[in-house]
Symmetry: C2
Subunit: 199 residues, 2 copies
């Protein structure tokens, strides 16, 4: 193992969540996915709650890195990259098994303040990126000036969240939504008078 | 009791779900919410699974009735009534406790084909209503002809689903989204040349 044990434990947590879901997850399941013993996991994290809090932090950092690595010379390109990241296979979108575990976590949030606080940060991260991209695009003239960054980021945040819920609940993959959103961007967001964006 | 015992049991199931959530729900909890004994609930439904299947069917019928009762002389008015029904307090939107139980059910769907099949029907019911309202509006000229009923119903279905998830997971009430969607309808869906719709 090249990694720190703590990181190895968090990666094993990811794999264990995909296999067992959140509700039934035990430290033993996580040990089984790693090269560490249950005792050495205990040495790093006293309880499942403590480990899970660290796991959500790790996940949040990865999300932040991903969002910051979004490239594109223009706001429309950056919006498309973000949507692709979140809604397509290519974009390293979370596998369905992990999405299932995360939906369990969301359903648990009303009973667990630490989880809820972390989920709020995830939501704000997404909302903030969308709002900033939309605002940049309006300022540069790439997006129509009927685009309202806060309003449209609110819509898109809900839409992306809903796509992830539907993928788990009814096995409705987000690819159809990705196409619909790409069309939505073209029809409703892009300024018709702006020069064509290169794809 | 004026109602049939079966209906009384299903109403008690609703109340018990709000109090206990889905994962930990027992027939005893449901009995405690009704005037019936656990034995007489058993007489009607052999297991929690059987009772829950009947409950989802009852809920689906109520949804269908609600959707069919949507009034409004024009497609934009009907769209606004549907959004209000699903996203505002006035609209008899499900209380948060019930939304929490339903999110647990959604997270459970990958492991339970009967639940998944029922959730698919709920999703199709919503999608179908949205698509039909949008198509009517395009045909009557109330909506802009850049509106694509299937594409935009796909977006709105995901958006509404996401609003319900965010309400549970991060306590983000859907009222801000309702305003955003009303604005979205005005800016992106309504045909600017159509006569003003009365509110």
């Amino acid at each position: 193992m090249d990694d720190e044990p703590a990181t190895e434990i968090l990666r094993a947590t990811y794999r264990a969540l995909c296999t067992h879901g959140y509700a039934n997850l035990t430290l033993q399941d996580i040990a089984a996915e790693s090269e560490l013993s249950k005792a050495s996991i205990h040495y790093h994290y006293e309880s499942k709650d403590e480990l899970f809090a660290a796991f959500l932090e790790y996940l949040y950092e990865r999300h932040t890195d991903h969002f910051e690595s979004i490239d594109g010379d223009s706001a429309p390109e950056r919006l498309r990259s973000l949507l692709s990241l979140l809604l397509t296979e290519e974009g390293d979108a979370p596998v369905t098994e992990f999405g299932t575990a995360m939906l369990e976590v969301k359903a648990q949030a009303p009973y667990d303040d630490a989880i809820r606080a972390r989920l709020e940060e995830f939501d704000e991260l997404l909302f903030g990126h969308l709002r900033d991209i939309l605002a940049d695009g309006v300022e540069s003239g790439a997006f129509d000036d009927r685009v309202e960054p806060v309003r449209d980021a609110e819509l898109l945040t809900a839409t992306i969240t809903g796509a992830h819920t539907r993928e788990v609940a009814i096995d409705h993959g987000p690819d159809r939504l990705y196409e619909a959103l790409t069309e939505y961007e073209r029809v409703h967001l892009l300024d018709e008078d702006a020069p064509e964006v290169t794809h």
